[in-house]
Symmetry: D3
Subunit: 331 residues, 6 copies
């Protein structure tokens, strides 16, 4: 476990700890003397760091995106804390726990994955069960499925976020299928489990969440279409029409053309799944906005994903006097 976190640094503190190098450059003072300037970060935020002397040899060994071990003192410059470096070196892989550098789900991912596999157990359609079992047990996929965020900024934007989102959707799908008996629960579960598999490759989430070049050229819908299609074709006898149905549900799950779905949902389960996915994502975005202090008492921070801010309902209502309505029967 690294210590301390950026957000906990206080003035005049002397520290030893590990950070990710976000930026690195050599600059000149007004007097023309070169110095090293870096931006260092961890999952809690980032901070400027400077080293004024004897940094040349140390700096050569370190690049952007490397992890470093630093010895430094916290100073205040223009009212912001800054690290004045005394020593630093590249960190060894075994010294680093990546989880310290990216925010992650508050749930246990092993536990979530078990829940996910449990959902596959109850499936009745033998072809769909075979399909999801095959993909969710693929050793190429498992570790990334446990690690991937669900998005870069919109919702569940933290390690394990994708898995948390998917497991939530599976439970939701079962409830909805119980309510609307015309729905095929196995199709909804398949959709939940596979609809974001393309994000494993669309996003890059080693040290920070960003898009891969292929991710930008193709998008996760097209990428998972390829993965899932290949899996279906690898299952001997997989019905051609069921294949088209699964493909349709994947490509239509964004619900609208302008969100990158080349087809609108034209199957009942495709329509319903689009609603569930959208609802779960939006609620996660609301949750994230409420987690940020906006400075306005009654309101969350503005959510770019939702285009508005949200009321802090409990806070707003508790200012309500706790009176109880009069019992009518007493009158």
């Amino acid at each position: 476990m690294k210590s301390p976190l950026v957000k906990d640094l206080t003035a005049d503190q002397a520290i030893t700890g590990f950070f990710l190098v976000i930026e690195k450059e050599v600059r000149n003072t007004n007097a023309g003397k070169p110095y090293l300037r870096m931006e260092l970060g961890d999952r809690s935020g980032s901070i400027e760091a400077r080293m004024w002397d004897a940094f040349e040899t140390l700096a050569k060994d370190v690049s952007r995106d490397d992890f470093v071990k630093v010895q430094a003192r916290v100073e205040i410059y223009r009212n912001k804390p800054q690290l004045s470096l005394q020593q630093f070196r590249r960190a060894k892989p075994e010294e680093i726990d990546l989880a310290d550098f990216l925010p992650h789900t508050r749930f246990d991912v092993e536990d979530l994955y078990k829940q996910l596999l449990a959902h596959t157990e109850g499936m009745k359609n033998p072809w769909l069960k075979k399909l999801v079992t095959k993909i969710l047990n693929d050793p190429q996929i498992i570790p990334r499925y446990k690690r991937a965020p669900a998005a870069k900024v919109m919702h569940h934007a933290y390690l394990g976020g994708l898995l948390e989102h998917v497991v939530g959707l599976c439970a939701l799908a079962k409830q909805i299928a119980a309510h609307y008996q015309e729905l095929d629960v196995d199709l909804l579960l398949t959709a939940a489990m596979l609809h974001d598999v393309g994000k494993l490759d669309e996003l890059c989430y080693e040290r920070a969440v960003s898009y891969t070049t292929e991710g930008q050229l193709l998008g996760h819908i097209v990428m998972e279409l390829e993965t899932v299609t290949k899996a279906m074709e690898g299952i001997e006898g997989f019905p051609e029409k069921l294949k088209a149905v699964v493909q349709h549900i994947l490509i239509s799950h964004h619900g609208q053309y302008e969100f990158g779905s080349p087809k609108l949902p034209m199957i009942r389960e495709a329509l319903v799944f689009h609603y569930l996915d959208d609802l779960d994502s939006k609620l996660a975005a609301v949750r994230a906005a409420l987690d940020i202090d906006s400075g306005e008492e009654d309101w969350s921070a503005y959510s770019g994903a939702l285009g508005r801010k949200f009321l802090r309902l409990e806070k707003y209502l508790t200012e309500t006097p706790s009176a109880q309505p009069k019992k009518e029967q007493k009158n």
Copy 2:
């Protein structure tokens, strides 16, 4: 019970039965001889009717939107059935069961209403419970709540459709609130029960579903805002802030400005309720489109409400050979 239904009429049949007068006019033959032409209907469809002689006295007593008892013979004219009238008179109110003239829910409305009241029983928030109990027990409201359709054409467009939609939403709301524990189930239930109360007055559903003049000028959102606001003000001590919350949920439940919501949902429960209402309505529209024979084997009729047609999933997949996937372990 009226008999027979328009859709069951066959050539050369002699009938006696009750119909709604949809159109009535006197026309001239090419030879200049006047005759009576009416369009008659019931919940199954409509048919042309003509009377060639001695209709003047009979016709005077009957207007558009009246019910008539007719004695007639079914003839085929230009390949379509037509009624050749022998006798008719205005029907007496006691002879008519309105349910014969408008389609209605396949559920028992008394039973649905009991379910609705049962949902109010479990509510914990005393103010909200008092509010919905008051409205749902208002003798002015009860009979119309049991009768109103949920819309003119979009979804649940039949007598009792509103109640069916609301009871479905209550059950759905409880499941969603169980899944997302941050949600206040009582607010969701209140929303479900009151969000379409304005439709009781926006629509006119005596003999056919249409809009009232006030309904067109104000819309059901504004109309129910007035009804519910008055009810809240009638409850002594009803908290001011809770009133604003309920009002916000009502006015934002269409989710977008262009659907007549003057505010977008800015409370978590308002957002979620919008999704549930939209999902339930859309699924009902899919159901209606699937109920119509489109002439295309694999597809429903085109749904104007949804802007597309839907796949008949079961039909499409059953053409799939019933083969089972090979057991992988056997390979």
Copy 3:
């Protein structure tokens, strides 16, 4: 009268005066020494203020949104003026004239209000006359009606702006009704007088213009709908249909769904009033944009409300040589 205004402060000036506390915080110098930093303002702008010593006791007594009396010296820091505080204390209510802290209409509000009441005098429709008279004489409403701005930023965004806008609209309505004789002038006057009554509660304009929480949840259209509806119901015998007409005019006056009108204008007077309100607001926004020096000779500042800048017509044309056209008859 406070003195001096922020915009008149010059370097090295020693001042004593009253300001609104916009921000207040304690910071540390690089050397770790705490100091007080405030942002102080009045209707002409805002300025940074710092106090380096012995501020602790003074600062405790003062919060954001308080008014303070300060003794200070104007210094230039990074090319901007700044206050170096020597003394300050919370101002007493009687020392403060709020008008010094918010911009206000250049008209006399008492005079405007008299004009407004005069417009009610000439009304012929007894019900509408009674309605507006009741509201405009409500002691809860009068003082706020005289004070409210018409908007936060779009147009007439200053104290008394709403009243100025309304009185202008009344005069305009009379001219238009004289021109188009098919129009009912009393409906237009009623619309002018009541269409923004909801802004009395939607906006908060004690010390700066902002939105109330209820204002954000409901919007002024819904808020005034409630106020006006209650007033109509309080008038015995007020015709039901006239009530629906007034309600329709209020809810449709923004003219389009995306501006928060749940219904489009479907009554002639509603359509016309929407045009008048829009025109008057837009012209006020043009006026405001022309009042700002944009740095471009021929052009106003860019108006966010209008999405463009406007030509300074007179300026542009006066560069035209003042030649007169030749008299044609002389040729």
Copy 4:
């Protein structure tokens, strides 16, 4: 004066009258015998006409868009009246009053034109006065200005409609300029008089209103830009900048790109004129919709130009009991 009008024809009537040939063709009966079929019309509507024998010579002399004098008998065929022709010939020009074949303004056009010229008298800006005087006294323009409709279907779609619209706008412009004293009334009057001059050539309104080929390729904004620019250039010394101002007002008067304005209004008078023109056109469209019997008691016909129907306000309110509010002072 032609007689009778199409709308007044009744069964079995023998008539002699003048009509416009809208369609003309020779068809075969089922038995293979050729007959002449024409559609004949006047300003009140159109009717089918047939001639069974000896029509060959007569028909040769007549084409679509010609006027004919016919002798015929009104028969009823498939419940619609039809002319059975006995004789017909091409009408002589002197027999035809075009006004019988196109609807026209209910005002006297000579009188309207005098009002228009009177508005030019009071103008103060010598250049603008010279400009409009020149155009409105151009013998090429006068007769067409008195005759042109303001549009094909949207508003004032009848002969003289353009002039009626313009004269109305001039009066309105003066009132608005009196209300907003910052406005230049001469620019508004110039805009009113010239903003639709291009319609003289965009539309073709000899025998029915349609678009000319040039009108479709260029549109009236571009066409009047050329006309007015030429007129300004023909006035020696016309200020260059004033020319740009007039051109801007013309090209921006539709107010939005999608209505064919290549620039948005960026001059105060351009913005205001756009509002006045739009308001006057929309009110004319409302008037037209109210003139049509829609079959719904409370509502006008649906107006395609406005995308909705309008309430018949007087009709709706007169069902209101004529009760008077109680005098408050009496209570």
Copy 5:
């Protein structure tokens, strides 16, 4: 070769020929006597056919979409030609040339295909050359590639239309790549050859052009993505990045989300190809609109694909007097 075509049938003609059964039903006369009604068609149009007696046995053997050989007489009914059938039987496959029943390109498809293969010859990039060669020589693909239309209604909507469109695009691509030397011609050629391969399966064009169920669920972009991806994976060593580039060009070629492209073009060649494809399609649609007689002299028929009509330029200009401009040097 079938004879005669529907469009050449004339009254009273006795014919023997082959037609496609578009509709088939048994109806009753007013007198209750059953008769057979069919709609028969070929590539030139369709016609009603009736048989009054002894049709039962014949009719049993024939269904919609079958070809029939008929013996009949052309009659005129309500001014339209109709077939009165004397005899008919199902046609034998060898009697039918499908090209008689669907419109086809005016070019020779074998010749077009040779041109297409010639374009592959000159390609320099070995991987792309191998890819297109493989697909264009696939015996599963060749016959359908030669036959498919490019669209159902928008452009090149006839047999061989796809091939004609593609060969045109290849030539165009070469010219554009010669003009903009920064472009990779092989990528443009690959795009031209493969961008509509999915239409081979999206459309059904055996007897009339329509969509397959899979075509509606997936669309041709997704369908060809699968075909081309499989082909690339079947080529050993095909570079991963080049694969992503080809996939991107395919999925982005509609240029906008609302036309079903899940990604916008982000590669120069993808952008250019989108323009070429769009231009060629639009020009084909203009050509089709100009081929139809609209009844307006100067104008084409209205093109739904383009949302407007087009000027018949030559026709319009030839009415221009053939005068030549004066030689300026002579002045």
Copy 6:
């Protein structure tokens, strides 16, 4: 030739050179001492300059938009270079080559103009040839045509950019007309040569590219319409219909209303020219985005004109191993 360029300045360098004055103001130090601050620029960028003593007399003679000759020393302040001025004076016109102060095309403009005139030589339509020859040889137009940029920021935003764009379009037009033989090449060439002539006056490009007031009021489409119309009217006998065709092509060349075209292309050549102009502009924008280092290896800078970034195709693909596909025949 000026020296050195702003982008080549390095710390501690003593320089003498010419710059454009972008901003000029006198400020006070914290100590209240006035100093001169200017922003100086050339085609490579801009730099701050300060003079601390004895600047008053020098400064009086110099204004914004003047050129100055300066003697200065380059210092580093807050990590950015800055000029410390020792001397400066207004530059004499003969000392300045404007090309040093605005970026320009990499082609020789005299050579481009010759190519442009050569394109006019081959034109067959005598009227169009006369029209373009007249305009392109107008001494008022030539120098500005050689100098104007094609846009302020969107594409070809450098001196000579317009000419480069037009000459490119002429060559492209000829290729397209060779490919689609239905197209009239002379109309396309005319369009290419005249479609942006209005930009000569819409933009101001003396010392920096900006819009003229007339350019903002009218836009280049309306401005060139006037120029070209006048030229056509100045050619005796120029056919009226051809004039309308040329006008239509000019006003429709932006292709959509929202881009300022008051008419959509309704002539084949107008549609095609719109595509060519759009393609050439977009490709230039891509080129400009690729010229900027975005910091992302695989991607260009974000292009505001295109709303996205573009792949650096060559760079991306060269990381591909240079393997060749196996020869299939060898297997």
